[in-house]
């Protein structure tokens, strides 16, 4: 179908997660599962085999009582830009099942192209990718709640968070229908952002200086989007993956746990 719309300016959708506000309640994880037809099994306690596109980690400062402290860190797919779109997973996929979109900055995952070699899982430094070791099964009438906007996956393929890309498509369809090429900031939000009881997740276009994500993270476009906000950090910044998920914390030990340091550093 041909239409006369262009897709507007290139976007870089990203997220800022305020770890001071995150309470580790797990709503984002369930919001993601229920939005994206994520399967579940009887035993989900082996976390290596548990498919959680969004996963809340519990970090601690490694100290003893009473100096012991904890922090909760939600981890979606980082949508790495890498070096000009060379995100770690995209570079290794032999099937072009995962690709970097320069239009949205989102790393796609096309399930029907994936043949399950799992190179991308090995390449991903964030453990954000999951493999379907079993065919998913929805007991009783649970198939009824499956959303038609996200295709259910099957045994033998890899899946991951795509910033609820179908929501972008739905929002764009609506915008086109109304004769617009651009979306308002609130029109496209991920499911986790929408659900988060703490309002700790902010989502928007990092390229757009009017968007909250840009204003909070202050990405430095000369340095792959490295945040200029002193309280903001990205996970494994030094790998050069240039993730589009930023974290905020007022606690130094939390910011420091975002990367690995040799003992003689710092």
């Amino acid at each position: 179908m041909k239409n006369n719309h262009n897709n507007g300016k290139a976007k870089k959708f990203g997220m800022v997660i305020d770890l001071d506000k995150c309470t580790g309640c797990g709503s984002c994880m369930v919001a993601c599962m229920s939005e994206n037809n994520v399967p579940f099994k009887a035993d989900e306690t082996d976390k290596r085999l548990s498919i959680t596109w969004m996963l809340v980690y519990k970090l601690n400062n490694g100290k003893s009582h009473p100096d012991y402290d904890e922090c909760y860190l939600p981890r979606p797919c980082m949508q790495c830009e890498g070096d000009h779109g060379h995100s770690p997973c995209v570079s290794v996929c032999p099937a072009v099942a995962t690709d970097y979109s320069h239009e949205t900055g989102i790393v796609s995952q096309i399930y029907t192209r994936c043949f399950g070699c799992r190179y991308c899982m090995a390449a991903c430094p964030y453990h954000a990718r999951y493999f379907n070791w079993w065919d998913p099964a929805w007991p009783a009438d649970m198939e009824k709640y499956l959303s038609p906007n996200v295709s259910p996956r099957m045994r033998g393929i890899v899946e991951k968070c795509g910033f609820c890309f179908h929501r972008y498509q739905l929002a764009m369809d609506k915008a086109y229908y109304e004769g617009r090429d651009e979306l308002e900031e609130g029109e496209y939000q991920t499911s986790c952002t929408q659900a988060c009881p703490a309002g700790a997740i902010v989502f928007g276009d990092l390229n757009n200086p009017k968007h909250a994500v840009h204003k909070i993270a202050l990405p430095d476009s000369k340095h792959g989007g490295r945040p200029k906000n002193p309280n903001a950090f990205r996970l494994l910044e030094r790998l050069g993956t240039n993730p589009k998920v930023y974290y905020l914390s007022s606690r130094k030990w939390v910011r420091d746990s975002g990367d690995n340091y040799r003992p003689d550093e710092k």
């Binding site: 797990g26 579940f40 007991p139």
Partner: protein, 754 residues
């Protein structure tokens, strides 16, 4: 053409290279992955027109607004309702998983009658007509015996029309035994009755507080209104309000707090009084409030003219920071600094009720903490506790009573609530097993269970089951096959909250008076019936004055009539915020530091707000050297709704590993016992034993072990049943001598290698 070695090699290398230059291998690979994925058993969700239905979540008493996305007639996603006063578009993990309950495998699909042994799971399908016929006949016979008070009902709330219908049925039948599941609200109600002289419930204006002193309240672990509390927490972060969390274990609330004070469990009341001591000594209290509303702060005389020490003097004499430090294990300096910070804040508030607020607090602690609020005038003031009048929109005409009913309703409640001993209590479900087990014939002959799962949620599961086995007829209205439904004689399945109309009144803890209307998101999937309709049918089948008390055609008619002119607005918007037309109850503005209601009689001095009485735990210290405390997490539902598969999936492997619950233990304690991370151990309490694993955590005081609530279900499906241990099975309740509520905060325990 001659085929020599050279041309053969050239051809084969050439063709290999050639094929790889064409898209053929890539195309084949692509096709192959597509072919190998076209399995008939992989569902392809049907597309169709999308729509949204606004409603109210029914999975806890917080009453969050929800909007449900539908594709044709299927519900595909639950989201928070933007603009709703409780949750404004936000939603918790349990609320998000509602569709797994709706479409899940634990539904009761049709009325069932037990045919085998109780709890054996042998059922016979029965029609609605026949089941109402059978039960109404049994109830009529029971009533003819002249003891209508032997009918009882358990319900999670006394608000909303369905609960009112159930209560009305009991009343006209002649029974006062409407039993409500206890929670921290039961404790707050008793405290306000005693100290404020008001029957209203407590609302927490926490969004406006600037210093939150929480005595173990799991504000971020599901307390009272989970989503609202987490939203409030973000407001506190933005405006730099200070949160101090007092509890022996680093819960999520403690981890997010500005200060975590690890206190010896069971000594909160002493700390509250120590803080009061500093505030009074330094003259930092709100003199205006105390003088204007307070009674018993200074020396006072009772009716007989006997003089009593005032709150001030008792606290100054007995709760010096040094004494309190000794009791609570907290530094003197910390006690003083917290007291000063609290007193110097503009809008401080002190809260109690541990974990998710599902369990009551001992009255001693409740009164001491409530007194702190009074010292700072944080009662009926912005940022403090607000005494909210009970909802009053259900105005049905007084029902006509016959002789049997009038006589029955006068009998003392089976749980003793409102009686001589527990005059302030409205309901004491926790005492029911003890009362039944102490009598040869059960004082309840028929028990109706609505929105409750007492066999799972009540303390001492063995005693509860024994008590229930003595009740001849148990009727469950549960839409799910939970523990209590499995152990009943009839199941009259209700629609789930996504299939029915139902009003819900001001959620507990809310400062706003709110009425919300749940409406069917989808048509009922099975042969279920709204419990309101079932009660009306039962009443009609019983005939006489009972039928007359229920003049409505059906539940929907009753609801529309009850809500009157509000119905239209509710049907359109889903909720109404009642205007505050009345000034706050002036009677509740008084504050009785002496708690005369329970304390005029000098025998009862032990419960004065200015006293701390350590509770003795069951069991021998040498045999059970550790103390086991329960904890709550947002990722496990511990109430009458079982945790759905999505939520169980989010539970960390340090809480549940395979089918074992993990207990938190301090590495020091573990080292003494020779335990390392993940060891399987036997956990023994004076009441029971269980197999668990240990999880080493610096976030718990030495000498303690902590077990999460919400696991250890025997009912539901393979996604929940048989996972972990139920804390409720491990202890016997400790009855508070004055309120009559369960005041358990821990239980003695030991662990040994499995």
């Amino acid at each position: 053409m001659k085929i020599d070695r050279r041309s053969f090699l050239a051809l084969s290398i050439g063709s290999t290279a050639g094929i790889h230059l064409t898209p053929l291998p890539w195309k084949l690979m692509d096709d192959m992955s597509i072919w190998t994925q076209n399995w008939p058993w992989t569902p392809v969700p049907q597309d169709g027109a999308a729509s949204y239905v606004n409603s109210v979540c029914g999975l806890c008493t917080a009453g969050c607004g929800i909007r449900v996305r539908k594709i044709e007639n299927r519900a595909v996603k639950i989201e928070g309702l933007p603009g709703h006063p409780v949750n404004d578009g936000r939603i918790c993990s349990l609320g998000l998983s509602g569709l797994q309950l709706l479409y899940g495998g634990t539904r009761v699909k049709t009325p069932l009658k037990r045919i085998g042994e109780r709890g054996a799971g042998q059922w016979q399908k029965i029609s609605w007509k026949q089941v109402i016929d059978e039960i109404s006949k049994k109830l009529s016979e029971q009533r003819k015996s002249g003891n209508p008070q032997t009918l009882g009902a358990i319900c999670n709330s006394d608000r909303g029309t369905t609960s009112h219908l159930l209560n009305r049925f009991l009343t006209v039948y002649g029974s006062p035994n409407f039993l409500r599941t206890p929670s921290v609200q039961s404790s707050y109600e008793i405290a306000t009755t005693i100290m404020n002289g008001s029957s209203g419930t407590v609302g927490f204006d926490l969004e406006n507080s600037d210093y939150i002193l929480s005595f173990g309240s799991g504000l971020l672990d599901g307390w009272v209104s989970p989503v609202r509390m987490i939203r409030a927490h973000s407001i506190w972060k933005d405006k730099k309000a200070r949160v101090v969390q007092i509890e022996p274990r680093l819960s999520h609330t403690a981890a997010k707090a500005d200060q975590w004070i690890a206190i010896k469990p069971g000594t909160n009341a002493a700390l509250a009084l120590g803080i009061a001591h500093v505030i009074i000594k330094e003259k930092l209290y709100d003199k205006n409030f105390v003088e204007k509303y307070g009674f018993g702060f200074e020396e006072w005389k009772d009716e007989k003219g006997q003089t009593h020490k005032g709150f001030k003097q008792s606290v100054l004499e007995n709760y010096t920071p040094a004494n309190v430090a000794e009791i609570t294990g907290i530094d003197v300096a910390a006690i003083i600094s917290v007291a000063k910070d609290f007193a110097k804040s503009a809008k401080p508030v002190a809260l109690c009720g541990s974990g998710d607020g599902g369990a009551p607090v001992n009255l001693n602690e409740m009164m001491a903490v409530h007194a702190l609020n009074a010292l700072k005038g944080a009662i009926n003031n912005k940022g403090g506790l607000q005494i909210v009048p009970n909802p009053d929109y259900i105005l049905w005409p007084e029902s006509e009573m016959d002789k049997t009913a009038s006589k029955g309703i006068q009998t003392e409640r089976v749980d003793g609530a409102g009686g001589k001993k527990y005059a302030q209590a409205r309901s004491l479900l926790n005492r029911l097993p003890e009362v039944i087990n102490a009598s040869s014939e059960s004082p309840l002959q028929t028990l109706l269970v609505y929105n409750a799962n007492p066999i799972y949620t009540m303390a001492d599961s063995v005693a509860v089951k024994e008590a229930f086995s003595k009740i001849p007829l148990i009727v469950s209205f549960s839409p799910y096959m939970d523990e209590t439904a499995s152990y009943s004689d009839y199941i009259l399945p209700n629609h789930t909250y996504l299939e029915r109309y139902e009003d819900s009144a001001t959620p507990y803890g809310s400062v706003q008076q709110l009425i919300s209307l749940a409406r069917p998101v989808v048509d009922p999937l099975f042969n279920t019936k709204q419990t309101g309709d079932v009660i009306i049918s039962l009443a009609k089948a019983m005939g006489g004055h009972i039928a007359k008390a229920f003049p409505w055609k059906n539940y929907r008619a009753c609801l529309e009539k009850t809500l009157g002119d509000k119905w239209k607005t509710l049907a359109e918007h889903g909720y109404i915020v009642a205007k505050k037309d009345k000034a706050p109850d002036t009677a509740s503005a008084k504050f009785d530091f002496a708690a005369q209601a329970v304390n005029t009689d000098s025998k009862n001095d032990a419960v004065a707000p200015a006293d701390f009485k350590p509770a003795d735990l069951d069991g021998d210290v040498t045999a059970f050297p550790l103390v086991l405390i329960p904890y709550d997490t947002m990722r496990l539902a511990s109430g009458f709704v079982g945790t759905p598969p999505f939520v169980i999936k989010t539970v960390g492997d340090y809480i549940l590993k395979e089918n074992d619950s993990c207990v938190d233990i301090n590495p020091q304690t573990a080292a003494k016992l020779g335990l390392t991370e993940g060891n399987k151990v036997i956990l023994t309490t004076p009441k029971n034993k269980a197999s668990v694993r240990v999880h080493l955590s610096e976030g718990i005081l030495p000498g303690l072990i902590a077990l999460p609530r919400g696991l250890g279900h025997s009912a539901y499906d393979k996604f929940l049943a048989g996972k972990g241990v139920n804390f409720n099975a491990l202890y016997a309740p400790m009855t508070d001598p004055v309120s009559g509520l369960d005041m358990t905060w821990g239980v003695r325990a030991k662990i040994s290698k499995a």
